[in-house]
């Protein structure tokens, strides 16, 4: 399936990115010190803004790509232990996505505050871009399935979360053709620019996933974590 390229302007993302920036830095803007730090942060953003270029790739697939706890597309399997908990009969489709924010330029790595602020801006722009992308996917869902449908988007699943190995970003990259938005991939599965991420959303029919916080931050291992083991034992006992 041909991926769709979505451009998100920095101007649209900025209010969200700025809000996230204040939250990340835990600024109380009533305090003089934090006001001073915020001014520095905004200057770093102003100086580095030329490098911010938010672009996303999205592909929609029908529900039948989810088979036996794995997403199978074009000879590639995308999976994580958590997918086994998703009832296939409630899945109406899958959106694969990749998004990059480019890079907030900064003066020098020797200036550690500039370096840190530029890194935080980069992260917040990619996260804000993802928030905007989710809004657009919700709109797309309404067009695809009808305005009155009760379908919802699941949480984001992707390499490095929910126990999905980082190396699976290669499958996303190849399926979505990441190079179309200027993203490259390393042997380790690392996406470049660093402020890029990839993953998927399930379209669910009136169903809410029961997600443990441990699963969201799970980095994954071949055997699953102790939480997975306990869950598997419980399920076996139930059978």
């Amino acid at each position: 399936m041909k991926s769709q390229i979505i451009r998100i302007s920095e101007r649209e993302a900025f209010p969200l990115a700025e809000k996230r920036f204040v939250e990340t830095c835990r600024f109380d803007l009533n305090k003089e010190k934090h006001q001073r730090m915020m001014r520095m942060g905004l200057k770093v953003r102003d100086d580095g803004i030329d490098g911010i270029d938010i672009r996303a790739l999205v592909s929609f697939y029908d529900a039948d790509v989810l088979q036996d706890g794995a997403i199978k597309i074009g000879g590639k399997d995308i999976s994580c232990n958590f997918f086994e908990l998703i009832p296939e009969d409630r899945v109406r489709g899958v959106y694969l996505y990749m998004i990059t924010a480019g890079e907030c330029h900064f003066s020098s790595e020797d200036n550690i505050m500039d370096f840190l602020y530029a890194d935080i801006w980069g992260t917040n722009y990619v996260d804000s871009g993802t928030d905007i992308l989710i809004r657009r996917l919700n709109e797309d869902m309404k067009q695809r399935f009808g305005r009155d449908c009760s379908y919802t988007l699941s949480s984001e699943f992707g390499p490095g979360y929910f126990g999905m190995p980082v190396i699976q970003s290669k499958a996303f990259y190849e399926l979505l053709k990441g190079e179309e938005i200027g993203v490259t991939i390393k042997e380790s599965g690392l996406l470049i620019p660093q402020k890029s991420c990839t993953g998927l959303f399930f379209v669910l029919d009136d169903y809410e996933l029961d997600i443990e916080p441990e699963c969201v931050s799970c980095l994954g291992s071949s055997s699953g974590c102790s939480f997975c083991s306990v869950r598997t034992k419980l399920e076996r006992n139930r059978l």
Binding site: R26, K33, E109, M113, V166, L190, Q194, L219, S221
Partner: protein, 227 residues
């Protein structure tokens, strides 16, 4: 202003990350013949320690900690310029040499940069070798700079294995006794460090300072014991 009051002001200048105020306190101290080395070690440093404690307890954020650390670094350098040679030598004496790198396949360097900056402020000589370094290049860098400690950062589960490769290389080249190793990075844990044979793990930049100081202390107490 008496000494106690001056030292309290000095500590506050650091917790407020107010460099202008810190420099004014330094000028006042010099004009009034206060011991500048003591002002640094017992006045400004108290503010630094307070911030470290607040960071550990989650009261302040990383940017706030780093911002104040930069003020601390600048005031330390300013005091260094004004000290007599004896005191200057004492303050400049490096606590140890650390080479630091992000492993091959990984380009994340903000964490490494923060750790390097914090270690430097704490008095270590830190050489940042860069990102995506092969274990051979890391070892070569350690030899070149005669490092006490090699610190590596890996931000991905798929690149952590490089830290294991480094330990293996150190054993194979009989360099394990020469260099101590510290590992860090988001997926890295103390368990991982023990498993691969690294000498230490640190969760964050402040802990890296404590851990590095302990490693150096152990190294030299071991050497003294060997005599």
């Amino acid at each position: 202003m008496d000494k106690d009051e001056l030292y309290l002001h000095a500590a506050k200048a650091i917790t407020d990350a107010d460099e202008t105020e810190a420099m004014e306190i330094l000028s006042y101290a010099k004009e009034n013949d206060f011991d500048l080395l003591d002002l640094l070690l017992s006045g400004f440093s108290a503010g630094n320690a307070e911030l470290g404690d607040k960071f550990d307890k989650g009261v302040i954020s990383l940017p706030e900690l780093i911002y104040a650390a930069e003020v601390m670094k600048n005031i330390t350098n300013a005091i260094l310029e004004k000290l007599n040679e004896e005191n200057k030598a004492e303050l400049s004496r490096k606590k140890g040499t650390i080479v630091i790198a992000t492993v091959a396949g990984d380009v994340h360097d903000i964490g490494k940069g923060i750790v390097a900056s914090t270690l430097r402020t704490a008095g270590f000589d830190v050489i940042d070798l860069g990102c995506e370094l092969s274990v051979e290049d890391i070892l070569e860098g350690a030899k070149k700079y005669d490092a006490d400690i090699i610190g590596t950062s890996a931000l991905l589960t798929s690149t952590m294995s490089e830290q294991k490769k480094l330990e293996k290389l150190l054993v194979e080249t009989e360099s394990k006794d020469r260099f101590m190793t510290m590992v860090g990075g988001a997926p890295v844990t103390n368990r991982w460090a023990k498993k691969i044979g690294a000498d230490a793990y640190s969760e964050n930049a402040l802990e890296a300072v404590t851990v590095a100081l302990k490693l150096i202390e152990n190294k030299y107490s071991k050497k003294d014991g060997d005599l």
